[in-house]
């Protein structure tokens, strides 16, 4: 059952795996609507709350697919809790509790902060981008990744970040240092176009000197042609 649920959920989610903002908002709304369950079906409400909190944590960790699933589950649990509370309203509701669920400013419960990109995210929030052979311009996939990176950077304006340019191991070591730098410059320029303050972004080229992996096959080469992000003071990205 859970497997089918996961499949159903996944089929609804787009392949690019961005943060499930819409679903999180829906789950929050569902929780707000089940406020009666806080009194009349407290265990069910608590379960829905826990699932929602889990969805938020997963989102903050960048595990968007799992966050999506959890948010969906939270929404369903909140619905279930609301329904149960309605069923029990006659026996649990008493007049002096009338204010619950009526006239409550639901708006104030809606979490307006950008889910998943708040405090606590380290450089994990900046994803590596990859380049085609011999190329230094950004691929479409890279541009999407950089848009998420731009959000993180704008949320953390004080963090000084290094863009490391890398190449695969083939060809001239010195020319690869120049090519790696060009990749880093192009990445930084793209962030600038997205409105990021680039004065705190430094480009350092490692050429072919710091591969992510040591294989001599096309797969390893592809994973070495990259720009990755690091914070000065931390150990340089491998």
């Amino acid at each position: 059952m859970r497997y089918l649920l996961s499949l159903a959920v996944l089929s609804l989610v787009c392949a690019c795996g961005g943060p499930p903002t819409k679903t999180l908002t829906e789950a929050q709304t569902a929780l707000n609507g089940a406020i009666l369950a806080k009194k009349c079906a407290p265990e069910d409400y608590a379960a829905a709350e826990r699932m929602y909190a889990k969805a938020q944590t997963l989102n903050a960790q960048g595990k968007y697919d799992e966050a999506q699933q959890s948010a969906e589950a939270a929404k369903k649990l909140a619905e279930k809790a609301r329904q149960k509370a309605e069923d029990r309203r006659a026996e649990c509701f008493s007049p002096k509790d009338e204010n619950l669920g009526k006239g409550t400013d639901v708006e104030q419960f809606i979490d307006r902060s950008d889910p998943g990109l708040g405090e606590g995210i380290s450089v994990e929030g900046l994803k590596t981008i990859y380049y085609d052979f011999n190329a230094s311009d950004l691929t479409d996939e890279s541009k999407q990744t950089m848009q998420r990176n731009a959000s993180w950077l704008n949320t953390n304006p004080a963090t000084r970040v290094i863009l490391e340019g890398h190449c695969d191991s083939r060809g001239s070591a010195e020319y690869n240092l120049a090519l790696g730098e060009k990749r880093g410059f192009n990445a930084r320029n793209y962030l600038k176009q997205l409105g990021v303050d680039v004065s705190r972004l430094e480009v350092v080229s490692y050429g072919e000197e710091r591969p992510a992996e040591g294989g001599e096959d096309e797969g390893s080469y592809a994973r070495n042609r990259r720009v990755e992000f690091s914070v000065r003071g931390a150990s340089p990205g491998l």
Partner: protein
Amino acid sequence: MLRISLIFLLFSTPALADDPPKSEGSVRPIDIISFQMAVPDAFNQGGAADTRGVTEALSGTIARDLQITGYFNLVDKGAFLVDPAKEAMKPDYKSWFNIGAQGLIKVGYTINGNEVVADLRLFSVDGGSQVSLPGFEAPATLAVDPKPLRAHAHKFVNEVLRYYTKNPGFFGTQIVAVKRTGSGKSLVMVSADGLEETRLTSDDSINILPTFRAGKIYFTSFRNGGPHLFALFGGKAQPIASYTGLNTGGELSPGGNALVATLSKDGNPEIYTLNPTNGQVIKRLTNSWSIDTGATWSPDGSQVAFVSDRHGSPQIWIMGAGGGGERRLTFQGDYNTTPEWSPRGDKILFTARDERNVFDVFTVRVADGVIERLTQNQGNNEEPSWSPDGRHVVFTSTRSGSSELFISTEDGRRQFQITKGKGGYFTPFWAK
């Protein structure tokens, strides 16, 4: 009539000594016939037995050195008709002639405690007489130790080469290269025969792209967080240039008064000349939106060869040492890099990637752009560097499985693997 054909004769005036072997110095430009040299093992001339590798250090070194040059074929020891020890220093020329030897080298030793008297002699089989070589007219007394014995043998080979080609050999010279060490890369000094190696940098950062001119090594290091230029002399790494961005590929001019290097501090990689002591900019040589890198000096210091992708792909270009007059030299293929100008001025070595993404070593003639290919179907061959006299080339090749140093004749005809290291060697530069 025996003929001697030596490849350098293709490119220069006849290089035979004034007192050559009696055979003619005729040249067959298409077909190179290597000189047949017999090098029997060193023999005991009356002292203690050799238990400490004297034979290997003397005649073993001579035989291996001659092979490295690519000019000599060693006559198979199994074909010898005489007992070389028995005939001592009085060769039976006819017996050597009959097995095809043109030259004969005999080494005699007399071991006495920790000293050995070493007698090294060259004989002309055709001429039926000993050839007197400067510095080897009489036996020498040396310590029983591989290093000084090998050095003595190297000097002897250099004289043998001077006799036959008018140019002394390169043994005793050094090649600086890069090796992976731990998580980083270190500079190492390798003797021209590949048998002696010394690690130069001791830290665990990335140290690469060494050059070695006029007794000074310049290199690029990441030890301070980015690619910066350093010099190695006086037993210390001296910081030279650490501008924003790239500081790579520093090479000292033949006159020693300027460093050429790649800096990207002004927005993108360009070639600059710098003060060799403090890295201050003397002049910016290139000014283009493209990548300009890999600069190297002409032997008279009047020009610089470099890599530029201003026409869309990295190619070899040359320009004046003050910038200006840029001229493109390579037009085949879409990836030509790592130029080094021959000490003889006429050709530039470089690495090219072919249509199968295989790397090979080439030369291009400066006057007319004629290309010569030195390697083919032998793994990846890269980052070549000239010998001090411009008649040999050292480069890396992966043909044996790992990236090892090979020495080749300047046209690629004969190639010899001089290193067998784990982890491989990179970017060699032969000291000039």
